[in-house]
Symmetry: C2
Amino acid sequence: MIMENINHIFSQLEPALLEEITANGVVKTFPAGETLMRTGQFIKSTMLILEGSVKVFREHEDGGEFLMYYLQPGEACALSIICAAKSEASQIMAKTVEETTVLMVPLGMIDKWMLEYKSWYHFVLSTYRNRFDELLNLIDQVAFRNMDERLDFYLKRHAKINNTNTIALSHQQIAEELNSSREVISRLLKKMEQRHMVILHRNAIELI
Amino acid sequence: MIMENINHIFSQLEPALLEEITANGVVKTFPAGETLMRTGQFIKSTMLILEGSVKVFREHEDGGEFLMYYLQPGEACALSIICAAKSEASQIMAKTVEETTVLMVPLGMIDKWMLEYKSWYHFVLSTYRNRFDELLNLIDQVAFRNMDERLDFYLKRHAKINNTNTIALSHQQIAEELNSSREVISRLLKKMEQRHMVILHRNAIELI
DNA sequence: ACTTATTTGTAACTCATGTCACTAAAACAT
DNA sequence: ATGTTTTAGTGACATGAGTTACAAATAAGT
């Protein structure tokens, strides 16, 4: 059933390529909160997400972290592809947020398929493109926006990704992802509640 | 002599490819301060820098700008390649900082060469990789660093790129690139001078 | 039910940065 | 040389956001 799943999730890839992928890849399931990649680590394979979701973030020496983006089923980690191609150390951290199934493809294949399969070529390029866009967006956020706007943006994005308008996170968790502090987030959320933008519950924020 | 120049600057590319590049590309020289790409504009060709330098930056609605990186001879604009591949609108601005000669390659070639020339493939991928790294760095800066550290970093990078330890910029210009204000930069530079990190001149900052 | 741990609310304070208002110095122009 | 423009210096103040220090509310464990 995993095979079918792959075919479905990566339907934009050619059948012949999908066969190769399943032949060469290893399917692995990680529990929630598992670290898949850490700063400075060398990457030995590219990961295609089949199920669940993966948080990709930057980490600062003194503990702070900073959310970059989430990887969803059907997506690949752009960095792992880039790093793999140059066998360089990763600059980022990746962690599962829920139980996540990934397909691990040895890095030798990536280059090979680029030349052999047009659909793989487009897949890889659009992966780059999308991540690049997301980084540009992120830079906009931190360069031009205040925390209240960033929080608003964060909540909406989170809601969209999880396809719900109730964000099941504590203020503490949100603060960490935005590299802020819990009190600041609580304060801003209270303001948003007064403006009837959200309703606050324990461990949950409801968007209106 | 431009041909020789190209061969020299892009020596990592195969001779056959270089021939194709010169056959298909158009060499163009722009004066200093010319806008090569603006937000929302569609990109019709990729640019390889032959001489001079190009500033790539993000622009905010209310005027603020934000330096992303400089392109030097031998480099290509990663975004133009990505956008070209998907004929999407650009999200960034690019401006010459001095008189700059570029080689404009029609976007149809990019994809074609990826399959035909290994050296082009590696060139494009390493372009992505380098820009990606630079964006990651930038995010670090704005997410984790204060303005004094960012200024210090900015000055050192500028010095390194121009291969001099005198930065010939006004405080105003620096402020714009860091999306700050002139007074703040003046203040911080004065502090750096008191700590004997720099010597301030009019329109110039000397690193020690 | 009682205790404990987790999560949230809030006030007071500090600090970095941005803004306003104005002065001073240097470069340029006529 | 004198007036004008550009660049730099500086103090006073406003604001956003991080910090400290608690209190209150809610959930969880025994």
